[in-house]
Amino acid sequence: MTANSGTGIAERVTGARRGDRVGDSPARPDGAQKTRGEFAFSSDLWMDGMLWGKTLRSPHVAAKIRSVDTAPALAIPGVRAVVTAADVPGRPTFGLDVPDQPVFASEVIRYHGEPVAAVAADHPEAARAAAAAIFVDYEPLVPVVDPEIALEASPIHPDGNVFRHLVIRHGAPDATGDVVVEGDYEVGMQDQAFLGPESGLAVPAEDGGVDLYIATQWLHVDRDQIAASLGVPAERVRLYLAGVGGAFGGREDVSLQIHLCMLALRTGRPVKMVYARDESFFGHVHRHPARMWYRHHASRDGDLVKVEARIVIDGGAYLSSSNAVISNAACFAPGPYRVPNALVEGYAVRTNNPPCGAMRGFGAVQVCFGHEAQMDKLAAALFMDPVELRLRNALERNDRLVTGQVLRGAVPVREVIRAAASHPLPPPPDPAGPVTARPGGAGATAGPEDVRRGVGFAVSMKNIAYSEGFDDFVTARLRLEAGVDGEAVATVSVATAEVGQGFVTLAAQIVREELGVARVVLAPPSTVDVGSAGSSSASRQTWMSGGALQLACATLRAELVVRAAELWECAATQCLFDDGDVVRAATGERLSVPDLLAPAPLETEHEFHHRPTRALDADGQGDAHLSFMFAAHRAVVDVDPELGLVRVVQIATGQDVGKAINPVQVTGQIEGGVAQGIGLAVMEEIVVTEGHVRNPSFTDYLLPTVLDMPDVLATVIEEPEPGAPYGAKGVGEPPTISSGPAVLAAIRDATGFPVTRAPVRPEDIALTWMRRTS
């Protein structure tokens, strides 16, 4: 399959069949609504008589709280409640992994923007005024903002400053190569920048519990954390998925959920909260900034001998998912290459910077900037073509990772590299073309003579689903019944959060494929009538929720066959299921699904677990991961070195997808992921100085516009993954991982400058240019 952004979507995705089964590209059920602006997002929630919530956040990075006076806020007309740490009825803290983060700061402030109180009022303006009127007496402290210093500094939290220190020792520790290259690399703090800000509506219930309508990635884990802090049984906290305006990992942690529920229970009224854009930057975790040191050893022929790395990620004030992020960073530190010997040291550190957690690519992104720059350095030292070097060292099936894990699934690393490399290059920069097509864009800064073109290459790998022994499962229920018109209707109940990835489309495709039933209804996801589906993250839902659904379909198919056999009074083995009918082999008689459903509906529920994984041992060895995805990106970039401005011209990619269940959606993930990847490479960064967030707005947190988006040429490699439904791997994360490193490589190629930091800033390039030319 080839996709080219230059043309309309229909011609673009060759191989996208029209139908509505697996391998086809039916349109998303919510697509037209979203395009027309009619889709109800969580920020559109409304209930008569509802109150508006507002959070008060710390202006300080580190401080002691001497006292909090809420009286001035309560005196404002229309204010119904103010809650602080003192009002948390249950567990005072929350957290995805370990509950180390206060619902409200009580004694200590550990990061800029930490919540201190929340207000509910009749009108959002009254709520805003009330939050501003709360008097908090802070005693500012000197923050710890450098992770290297935090490693040694006295603890800023009772749990200490080191979240996790992980060492991977593999092969011979003192092995050395003929050729050795070394480098330091840095990645800044990226934000998920989902367009729908955090929002929800909490409604108090008669049983003393609460109903929460919320945009999230994982309903059940939110519920458990809310219930613990409210001090009520989990069944009394009911979560319903509201329209999610993007997530990218930023909705995995609790943000306003507990605050909203506390306010609803306190006031006995429905309470709605919507973060404004600036608050959203304080309300969720970000991508971990990273500092990395690498030393690669290779033989004279270009075989990797050893990789040494030290990776320090800044987790900010609270744990979130830092432990899993550093595990990924360490496990994938060498990239998708065969490395017989390795010593990788990973640290996830607590500082007074904003908390960091899950974001698309999860640890694999940061190290990819390091290992791919190293591969280029090595290629230069060996006088080898960088693509050749990568092909030579590419992982294959039955190879071992540096964790000792043997790769038993599909490992088409060479195929993705060749696919990316074989796309046509764009025409050279056109001296007569519009100035806005050059670096600097609308600013018209570059003449034809100011532009240099570069080409860069990067390859990546990442795990699918949860690792290191986590019991990762999805519960799904499927009901088949005859509708009023006699047609069969399949109803899917699964708590999978649709965050834009298109699971709603795939779910219907899978049921149609398996049962031949055209009418598929997805029950609204909630915690009420079905168990957990896990998070919509880690590229896992196609495999996990898709797998659960496929299993449920198989069960009902078998039951349909049994029903038919009973009617025919023959053995079930004499009957087979054929595209919506059961056929009696001996006679060719057929019974349709609606016929078989006439006596009674059928229903089944399944809990689908993936193959268990294991914890890493003291040497970082073990079968910690379920499966792996691979991708390669080639970037073509125009650079104006004198001004340090960049324009990405083209991204060509090969991506290992196992099976494209919906080719158009795969293309969507690739193009969107590329946008996010190049954003990190050239502009997206939360600027934090001394712990203060300096740019919490879309004025200054820059996202790529259409003028920054290159053409994308994509080839998907469909080598089925054993154990995965239809052989499909996840597709969401890989486009974000190696696209950015490929862009930095292209900038290095164009300029000859050692660009070692993402995002690269104009001054990083231009000031090097100045030094070299003066």
């Binding site: 600013g443 018209a444 324009r647 004025t699 200054d700 800033r761």
Partner: protein
């Protein structure tokens, strides 16, 4: 919460009256700065005087000697009407502003009254010694731009005054506007430069943005290059590479940039001299 009262005048006179009648009333043009400040809680006027219906503010006039641009002229108009033929650098600046939505709403008057160091129309207006006409209860007054924009987001416009129009003298010759930002579109300038070459007066005028609290002229650079250019050379005015390089240096000296979360002072100074030089190079012939 009391809602703001909104007046919808149709003439400048009515607008001034409305401002005088309601104490604390504020003018609303395209709202592209105004509403952002409301959202951030930085601005909560008790009354609003909306200018959208004041047709006379949207008027512009091109005469042989001058160009008059109404304060209500939008970026879309600056970039897409006959204004773009007589003031190509203003059109170029307008095309760098925001997104199509912003260019359809945002106005010249709003850009002047906001007086941001990064206001993209201001470098050209500074280069052309624009004069700005204000109308208040006591009548009209006309001031040079430099006396209107007095500091970072501060002006000498009185609370009951309306910016009516801007007047610039017409100049014959090429003009350029270049703007540096980290993104290829919809970005606040890190540095910008407007360069106007006057083929009749034999002078070069340079206005700089985002490199000082207010838009600045690079007068030293202007004088140097005005003298260094061979104005009568066949094929158009000609400057040596050395003179152009010196021009860039002098532009850099005219800047007094700061370091903030958008960029560094060092880069801004470098960038502004590069773009001013490049802008001029597009207007003159570069001699070997």
């Amino acid at each position: 919460m009391r809602a703001a009262r909104v007046a919808l005048p149709t003439t400048v006179e009515e607008a001034v009256e409305a401002l005088t009648e309601a104490p604390g009333a504020q003018l609303l043009a395209g709202g592209t700065d105004f509403c952002v400040e409301v959202n951030f809680g930085l601005r909560r006027p008790p009354a609003v005087v909306a200018l959208r219906r004041v047709q006379e503010l949207r008027r512009y006039e091109v005469t042989p000697a001058s160009v008059v641009i109404g304060a209500g002229t939008t970026y879309a108009d600056m970039g897409g009407t006959e204004l773009s033929a007589v003031l190509p650098a203003l059109a170029a600046a307008a095309r760098t502003v925001g997104s199509p939505q912003i260019r359809n709403s945002g106005t010249l008057g709003g850009n002047i009254a906001t007086a941001s160091p990064a206001g993209d129309t201001l470098p050209l207006l500074a280069a052309l010694d624009a004069r700005v006409t204000l109308r208040g209860p006591a009548g009209e007054r006309t001031l040079p731009l430099g006396e209107i924009v007095t500091g970072v987001k501060t002006t000498s416009i009185a609370p009951d005054e309306v910016v009516v129009e801007v007047v610039v003298e017409r100049r014959t010759g090429p003009q350029q506007f270049l703007k540096v930002g980290t993104r290829n579109a919809m970005v606040i300038a890190i540095a910008s430069a407007a360069v106007v070459v006057d083929l009749e007066a034999h002078e070069v005028r340079v206005g700089l943005g985002s490199v000082a609290p207010v838009p600045v002229r690079a007068t030293e650079a202007e004088m140097h290059i005005g003298d260094a250019i061979d104005w009568r050379a066949t094929g158009g005015p000609r400057a040596s590479a050395a003179a152009l390089a010196r021009f860039g240096e002098l532009v850099g000296q005219a800047a007094s940039p700061i370091t903030d979360h958008r960029s560094t002072a060092e880069y801004r100074r470098h960038a502004v001299q590069v773009i001013a030089r490049r802008a001029l190079e597009r207007c003159v012939v570069r001699a070997a």
